[in-house]
């Protein structure tokens, strides 16, 4: 719920630590004076929550030295006013944080990119190039009778996907006990989580780099074209033929993948192969793709950017105009090539990878959660609250349809990203006049 009162959210607290945005969490006082702990949710959420709760409010820093918030804001505003080619990166924030980022970017003529945009664009380029047919979590939960999972990390990256979506306790139209699960991906690493293994999934070992070929081959088999099922070395042709039959026979097949796992060049073509497979199936039966994303607010930042500016991320506002260059405005490349003279890094939630802010050569302003590791000592560090822990907010989950309200569970006096940027904008407005 959108509320600053934790007493109003028992059992209804939304988790911002992965793209599933599970909204059934509860907090309770921990042992001794450990503060609040999550009493349910997955291990990832409990760990991230505990880590966040253990940190103090932090302090503003200039060149690593503690300063007052006012001094940090004044210095940051000065850097922003002087910058000619600023880059706003990270963008791990809630809707209102992103609204503020965009207002400031417009004022400063900044380029925008999200920390996880490589993964985001593996899906987005496909949507932009040809479109797709997708479904949302509740639809899949109630309707899927065949679930094809690409890759191997989906269960690890989205820990409660099985319980909440793929194999729920009950469903409206497709009995969970009768669902067929197929994993198309590397045999390693490690065993599958127990609830996945319990569903007795069919495993078809395929290297990630071979997935696009398998997708094309499956399309050929489904279309009845004279393709050789065993054309891809190491991939069992008989299994692919069987899978093609299952896909055609399913009432509502779902193909799902975590774009973050597909970390190889031109993985968007892999995504597109399976998106087109889904569209083929819809000529005679029903099927949908379920792209898994939403981690670190990539969808949140992208949605707000798209409605406010008309363009997705990897766009910029130079010379008071919008421009969109998805292949050129990758923040890692811009920083490596020295094309930016200031980096504003916004990261209100912790990430496992990358664990630290970029070690940019240009001066850096970091708006970070307390305890955020910096790749290089930034010119300015301003601590910000975590959305969903320190302040209410809105957060898009993986299907990009349901922005969920985030609650608040503590008050350390930490400002939100929106609050801090609002103050920076005020100062810049004063400078301009």
């Amino acid at each position: 719920m959108w509320t600053s009162d934790p007493a109003q959210t028992p059992g209804n607290l939304t988790c911002p630590f992965c793209g599933l945005a599970c909204d059934d969490l509860s907090v309770a006082p921990g042992p001794a004076d450990a503060g609040l702990v999550l009493v349910n949710g997955c291990q990832t959420a409990r760990g991230a929550f505990a880590g966040a709760m253990a940190a103090g409010p932090g302090t503003a820093l200039i060149k690593g030295q503690p300063v007052s918030l006012e001094a940090a804001l004044a210095h940051a505003a000065g850097l922003l006013a002087a910058a000619r080619a600023p880059l706003f990166g990270g963008l791990v924030t809630d809707v209102n944080g992103m609204r503020a980022v965009l207002e400031l970017a417009d004022r400063c003529g900044a380029l925008l990119d999200h920390v996880g945009a490589d993964a985001l664009f593996r899906n987005l380029l496909v949507l932009q190039d040809g479109g797709w047919m997708t479904a949302t979590l509740t639809e899949v939960r109630n309707r899927a009778d065949l679930i094809l999972i690409l890759g191997r990390e989906v269960p690890h990256r989205f820990p409660r996907l099985c319980e909440r979506v793929l194999l729920p306790p009950e469903a409206l139209f497709s009995p969970p006990g009768e669902r067929r699960l197929v994993l198309l991906g590397p045999a390693e690493p490690g065993p599958l989580p127990a609830e996945f293994a319990a569903a007795n999934p069919t495993l078809i070992p395929v290297a990630l780099a071979d997935l696009a070929g398998v997708g094309a081959l499956l399309r050929g088999l489904i279309a009845g074209r004279p393709v050789r099922a065993d054309a891809i070395p190491g991939v069992a042709g008989a299994q692919l033929k069987q899978l093609a039959g299952w896909l055609c026979g399913a009432r509502y097949a779902v193909v799902t993948w975590a774009a973050g796992e597909l970390a190889f060049p031109h993985a968007e073509l892999t995504v597109q192969a399976f998106v087109e497979l889904v569209r083929d199936l819809n000529r005679t039966t029903r099927a949908a793709a379920l792209p898994l994303a939403g981690t670190l607010g990539d969808l949140t930042a992208n949605q707000v950017c798209t409605w406010q500016t008309g363009y997705p991320l990897r766009s910029g506002r130079q010379q008071g105009r919008s421009c969109y260059e998805p292949l050129l405005y990758r923040h890692q490349d811009l920083l490596a090539q020295g094309q930016s003279d200031l980096l504003l890094w916004v990261q209100a939630l912790p990430a496992a990878n990358p664990a630290a802010t970029p070690a940019a050569k240009c001066p850096t302003i970091v708006l970070g959660y307390p305890g955020l590791a910096c790749g290089r000592v930034p010119e300015v560090f301003i601590p910000v609250g975590l959305p969903g822990i320190d302040h209410p907010g809105h957060w898009y989950r993986t299907d990009a349809v349901c922005p969920l309200p985030l609650g608040q569970v503590r008050d350390l006096g930490l400002a939100s990203v929106a609050g801090v940027i609002g103050k920076l904008s005020e100062r810049l407005g004063a400078t301009a006049e």
Binding site: M1, L127, T138, Q308, V401, P405
Partner: protein, 554 residues
């Protein structure tokens, strides 16, 4: 401060004022009748100018997930219609699917002050309201989509009483912060999820023992009994299919005399005559509308050029995807709630079908007698972007121009249309009715759409030019809540609007039933589904204004 708008020609159909010279007075954001002898602090000399209430668009897709998908899919629209930052306004352009900021600025620059998003998926209501909150210059509102959600269909299949349905409908309006209820292809979006490709008005749903007629009857009755001012807003079955006039008439009948609004009816007024098995049924539909006072329509006029169709009607969007231009399209099944489909489209004047669609829309405008029951829309952006309204107004007001345009379209289509024989020309007063007074009345907005004391001072002043397109494209002045926000067609002050809602009463016991359904089948908690007034104001950024309902006895 008292402001006087002096000497303008007033068109205020709600008060029966048709082009009379009168003074208007504004104080504290409202129109007022000043005390005798009271001197204004500021006077605008509007002699020779045309003065109307701010325009209201009751059907325009300006916010929500499908619009953002369309923006994502059409970066070329941004490139073609770039809008640079100014000292006052934000970067971001687009015409077919403009950025939220550009939409707000462009509407205000055409004299519009209020607009309604007609397809709010309940599960996506937050996003729709967030986008509309970021659409400056306008008050906004939305119609919540029901009639394809599994909960309603389940309740109806169980045979619950109308009271339970009414509670669910009223609860939905509150939880989604909407002002009306819309049904899109009743039951059809849901049936498509079961692989049905067509669902006629009296055809049984593949899973539920229901027909679209049942859904229409039940929802129109709920809306009427709850006293929601806006009739059930209906996107009928069989959109775009030749011969769909039959199901459109059946849809009208399904309301059984209760108020019903048929939206973008142009897309539902097709016959199947002629060599191409595609013809105009505008005369039949217009006659049906003329005979039934419970029916209102908006047209969804097609204008030629590139646009994109965004719709909740996945069944029909999927069926039409091979017409996509450019060749890309998206369909989504959403949350056991509804769906959405995005198909870019280019209407071409030399294409037989497109040209006839254009003519059918104009025939409907000209053959429906009562301007209080037909509204000016292009179903933005489905028939054309809203920026084409001034040209559409000229087509309605200027027969010579209309016939010149008719002479340029596909000749086969022109020959099959009776448009050339229709002599009617809309008057300014009729334009004021269909763009101001009537939308306010049908939405239950007593505070706008007219210029009587007590109304919000949403006022548009036009130059009196020979060409109505020029007149309506570029107002001289626009006031929003008494503040001057546009001068000579350009934004001079940026203001934020509020969300217009209705709040019919319901028995809160329904929440227990809905909550159990959510717990069993959904992936979101009921408490996180509903949007509170606090969230609207503090989080989403658009506080609500509640308009009254008049509950009828059941």
């Amino acid at each position: 401060m008292l402001t006087r708008l002096a000497g303008g020609l007033i068109y205020d159909p709600a008060q029966g004022i048709d082009g009379e010279v009168r003074d208007l007075f504004i104080r504290d954001g409202q129109l007022v009748a000043p005390a005798p002898g009271e001197d204004p602090d500021h006077t605008y000399d509007l002699r020779g100018k045309l003065v109307m209430a701010g325009a209201i668009d009751l059907h325009t897709h300006i916010g929500g997930g499908k619009v953002n998908i369309a923006r994502t899919m059409l970066p070329e629209d941004q490139r073609a219609h770039c809008r640079a930052r100014t000292a006052l306004t934000r970067t971001g352009g687009g015409q077919v699917v403009p950025s939220t900021f550009a939409a707000g600025y462009r509407y205000a620059e055409m004299g519009y002050t209020t607009a309604f998003e007609p397809a709010v998926l309940p599960m996506n209501a937050r996003q729709a309201h967030m986008e509309m909150a970021d659409t400056p210059m306008l008050d906004t509102g939305g119609y919540a989509m029901l009639g394809n959600d599994d909960l309603l269909l389940q309740l109806m299949s169980e045979g619950v009483g109308q009271e339970v349905i009414n509670d669910y409908v009223a609860w939905t309006l509150k939880a989604t912060q909407c002002i009306g209820i819309k049904v899109v292809n009743p039951g059809g979006i849901n049936a498509f999820k079961f692989n049905a490709r067509k669902l006629d008005v009296d055809e049984r749903h593949p899973h539920y023992p229901l027909t679209p007629r049942d859904i229409l009857r039940t929802l129109s009755r709920a809306v009427a009994e709850l006293g929601v001012p806006h009739p059930l807003h209906v996107h009928a079955s069989n959109l775009g299919i030749p011969g769909n006039q039959v199901s459109t008439l059946a849809t009208i009948d399904a309301a059984e005399g209760l108020p019903i609004h048929l939206t973008h009816i142009q897309f539902h007024s097709y016959g199947a005559e002629g060599d191409r098995r595609f013809s105009s049924a505008a005369a039949v539909i217009a006659e049906a509308v003329n005979r039934r006072p419970n029916v209102t329509i908006d047209v969804g006029q097609v204008m030629f050029g590139q646009t994109v169709t965004v719709s909740g009607d996945t069944m029909r969007q999927y069926a039409n995807h091979q017409h996509a231009h450019p060749r890309k399209w998206t369909c989504m099944d959403i949350e056991c709630d509804a769906g959405c489909g995005v198909v870019p489209f280019r209407y071409r004047d030399q294409n037989f079908v497109n040209a006839l669609q254009w003519a059918i829309g104009l025939e409907l405008f000209l053959m429906v007698d009562d301007p209080w029951r037909v509204f000016l829309t292009t179903d933005h952006p489905n028939g054309a972007p809203f920026t084409s309204y001034p040209r559409l107004i000229r087509l309605l007001m200027d027969r010579g121009f209309r016939n010149d345009c008719l002479a340029q379209i596909n000749p086969e289509a022109a020959a099959l249309s009776n448009l050339g024989s229709l002599t009617r020309e809309y008057s300014r007063n009729e334009i004021a009715i269909m763009t101001r007074a009537a939308p306010a009345r049908i939405l239950g907005l007593a505070d706008r759409g007219h210029l009587a004391p007590g109304a919000r001072a949403d006022i548009t002043v036009y130059h009196d030019l020979a060409d109505p397109e020029q007149t309506f494209a570029r107002p001289m002045l626009v006031f929003k809540g008494g503040e001057l926000v546009v001068e000579e067609g350009a934004v001079t002050r940026v203001v934020r609007g509020r969300t217009q809602v209705v709040r019919p009463e319901f028995d809160p016991a329904i929440e227990g039933r809905i909550g159990r359904w959510f717990d069993r089948y959904h992936s979101i908690r009921l408490a996180n589904f509903a949007i509170t007034d606090t969230e609207m104001a503090a989080g989403i950024g658009s506080p609500v204004t509640i308009h009254p309902c008049n509950r009828r006895s059941t």
